[in-house]
Amino acid sequence: MSRILPLVAFLVLASLFGFGIWWNTQHDQTAIASPLINKPAPSFDLPVLGDPSRSVSKASLLGKPYLLNVFASWCIECVHEHPLLMTEVKSLGVDLVGYNYKDDPAEASAWIEQHGNPFTMIIADRDGRKAIDFGVYAAPETFLVDARGVIRYKRIGPITQDVIDREIKPAIAALAMEKR
């Protein structure tokens, strides 16, 4: 009997790990984002990239939903997701606002020049202070903010086709349903 004991103990351990993997696939990304979901987006008033005399505030964006995409010229993953922003995301039917994060304005503009501009507007958070309120901890991240300024969805990490189909499209569809 005692010789079976190590095996039994290990099987308990293994099922714990199995549970861990399952838990991660279920919870990981949303678990981190959860504190902000269904909370009002923090109020902000940030300058437009390349034109510091103009600024965009949270209030000025109220009234229709928009996607807020956090990017930076130093961010490698952003290059990977950018082609999708240029095509799929742009045609989702909501505004796409660029949030330039901890970046040099000249480098950011050059980066947009090189990779294309899918954004209706780009706001610049040079020192990353406001991003703390948004709970940003790495680029890229993407937020869906509804017409009343409430964060409805958050994606940490690059957007993929899968994410668009399985998460972003349903989230936008849900917003459209509420309107009716």
Binding site: L11, L13, A14, F19, G20, I21, N24, W74
Partner: protein, 655 residues
């Protein structure tokens, strides 16, 4: 084209691993010498092809081949060539490749240095190693291929994790893996013994040097990791009980227990099942370490959450390897009917107590490490246990070990003489108390420091007394056989380690201060003058570099340059400045500028005075040396002349 050759080499390695894993074991089972003979060349061939894959990856890094996704993610044009080589194991895919390559190195070494092993036994051992290699090469090919192309090819790559851009850190993973993977040899020996029904009783003796060397490497890797955390993280701590550290510490503890259990089994023929079980545990915990670090089960942020396939694969692999071996153990473990009985006062009793403490400590660390996961499973919310749990329980468990250490060599196998022990205890005890009292005057009566000095002197005096005894009583040339010398080194190392830990923890002065250029702060009797911050650049980083002049009684002791580096991708990395010494370290880390608008240019600085902290790693190095020296014992290499003791153990195995 070249990267595809790497992939091809891996596929060939996979096929050879399959051959190495299956044919020799069938051969040993059927008594077919031809099939058994496949083991050696297959092991060599697998090593050649995995080595070739490694070489291809190095080549891709050296030639900036950013069309390979792994190269693009982990290097860039500005990265110096030496870090481009070490970038090979800088992330998941490459480090798995390194893991297999080191497994191949061990297999080839085993094939080369085991001429004394019976062919059937060696065939089984190499077969088991082949199966492990098979699992890992398949893992690389199907879930973690480092040769995947990325098109269109990026103009420049990302960056090697700045954490790894440090000379000390470049060799930490390979050395650590030498230890982890090295336990696969002891594991394979045990499986071979279980498969073969232990017809060959001397296998424990042959397994011993391999276990010792693996443990030595693991010790070295842990010491390097601890030193790196101290120098780089900027907090001046040397051990944090975080999951990654624990993952390497658990096999170390079990490995230490295994070394001693193997000695008992070899000399006395008892505890055979326990020795087998410990070899299975040591390697299982190494695999578990790889799993915990690599699967994202514990650290769920970013890294692996994107690819649960890897976690799932490793889990299945673990179930096959660990579950399978434990099942084999349950069916075929030797029923110990004999062996020599244990006397109450004897060397084996002392070693058994040590064994139980070490394995309990490993179980305690495992429980603490998995606690957050258990919390999730039982729906307790996010819970975790920290240094207080580990620190308290670990010290408690190690207390008996430290108390027993000086007696180890004096105790005889099978019987002890209470008389000798009393005299040892008396002398070591008097030395320990005398030194502790003397130390009390220097450490302001701090109990922890006094205990540290007392415990260390107790261990070291006991060890040195035995060295002297051997010197007096034995003829030249027979005084210190390798096995004994290794044991004495390692035990002495424990003493050095204990004094380092307790003195540095109780006497350290750590101060976080705000200093403007020109200001001076006194910490631990040293005056630290801050001379401001200048900008400096390296090949792929720029840094704020502070200048701190350290002086004592007006005499300059050191000029220190702590840095705060910003790497290409924007990651920030502290480079603390350390002035090292035998009796103390002076440690300065640069924090943040107090305020961008502050005209004085003041910064937050961490100024530490850490007495005797170096002894922690010195003790570790002594233990490592002990492992390596003991492996050189000539008896381990002897042919099948079973010692009288090991034959006398009556073992009945269900064959």
């Amino acid at each position: 084209m070249i990267p595809e050759l790497g992939q091809l080499a891996l596929i060939l390695a996979l096929l050879l691993a399959l051959a190495q894993g299956v044919l020799p074991i069938i051969g040993a089972w059927r008594g077919n010498a031809t099939l058994m003979a496949v083991a050696r060349p297959a092991a060599a061939g697998q090593a050649v092809f995995v080595g070739a894959a490694m070489a291809v990856l190095v080549y891709a890094f050296l030639t900036y081949d950013f069309s390979v996704a792994y190269v693009a993610d982990n290097s860039n044009l500005a990265l110096p060539w030496y870090y481009r080589i070490t970038a090979v194991w800088g992330a998941h895919e490459g480090s798995m490749l390194l893991w297999v390559f080191i497994l191949n190195v061990w297999s080839v070494a085993l094939a080369a240095f085991s001429r004394q092993l019976p062919p059937a036994f060696l065939a089984r051992v190499l077969g088991v190693l082949g199966l492990i290699g098979l699992g890992f090469v398949a893992f690389i090919l199907f879930t973690s291929n480092p040769f995947l192309r990325e098109l269109p090819m990026p103009v420049d790559g990302g960056d090697l994790n700045p954490v790894l851009q440090d000379p000390g850190m470049t060799f930490h993973p390979p050395v650590l893996y030498m230890g982890y993977v090295g336990f696969s040899v002891a594991f394979a020996f045990s499986i071979a013994a279980l498969l073969g029904g232990e017809l060959e009783q001397a296998w424990v003796r042959w397994a011993r040097p391999w276990t010792n060397v693996a443990w030595g490497f693991l010790t070295c890797g842990i010491v390097a990791g601890s030193w790196w955390a101290y120098a780089e993280l900027g907090w001046g701590g040397w051990w944090f009980w975080d999951p990654v550290e624990n993952a390497s510490f658990m096999p170390w503890l079990v490995g230490a227990a295994l070394i001693h259990a193997q000695a008992i089994t070899e000399k006395r023929g008892t505890l055979r099942a326990w020795t087998i079980l410990l070899s299975l545990f040591a390697f299982s915990l190494s695999l578990l370490g790889t799993f915990l670090v690599r699967s994202g089960v514990l650290t769920s942020v970013h890294a692996f959450a994107s690819d649960p396939r890897r976690g799932l694969y490793i889990l299945c692999f673990l179930i096959v390897v660990i579950g399978g071996s434990l099942l084999l153990y349950a069916i075929r473990a030797p029923k110990v009917v004999g062996g020599k009985p244990f006397a109450v006062v004897s060397r084996e009793t002392a070693m058994l107590i040590g064994n139980l403490m070490l394995t309990t400590a490993a179980a305690m660390v495992l429980l603490g490490t998995l606690f957050p996961l258990i919390g999730d499973a039982l729906n307790l919310g996010k819970v975790s246990v920290g240094p207080p749990y580990f620190g308290f329980l670990f010290n408690l468990l190690m207390l008996p070990v430290v108390l027993l250490l000086p007696f180890g060599p004096y105790l005889r196998w099978g019987r002890g003489e209470a008389g000798t022990l009393k005299s040892v205890a008396l002398r070591a005890g008097i030395a320990a108390i005398a030194c502790a009292i003397a130390a009390a005057f220097f450490v302001d009566g701090k109990a922890k420091a006094i205990a540290g000095v007392g415990a260390a002197v107790w261990v070291c005096a006991g060890t040195l007394l035995y060295v002297a005894k051997r010197w007096r009583e034995m003829p030249r040339g027979r005084r210190y056989p390798a096995e004994m010398a290794g044991m004495l080194f390692a035990h002495f190392g424990v003493g050095i380690f204990v004094v380092g830990v307790l003195l540095s923890e109780s006497l350290s002065v750590e101060r976080d201060v705000r200093l403007a250029p020109g200001q001076t702060e006194t910490v631990g009797g040293f005056d630290f003058r801050f001379d401001g911050v200048t900008e400096t650049t390296g090949p792929n980083w720029r840094a704020d570099q502070g200048t701190v002049i350290v002086s004592r009684d007006g005499k300059t002791v050191a000029t220190m340059h702590p840095q705060k580096r910003t790497y290409a991708r924007g990651q920030v990395q502290t480079e603390s400045a350390v002035d090292a010494g035998i009796t103390r370290d002076i440690y300065v880390a640069l924090g943040e500028p107090m305020d961008a608008n502050d005209i004085e240019g003041a910064w937050a600085l961490r100024l530490y005075h850490k007495p005797f902290i170096r002894w922690i790693w010195l003790g570790g190095l002594f233990m490592m040396l002990g492992g390596f020296v003991a492996a050189g014992e000539r008896r381990f290499r002897a042919k099948r002349v079973a010692t009288a003791e090991s034959v006398a153990g009556t073992v009945e195995s269900p064959a």
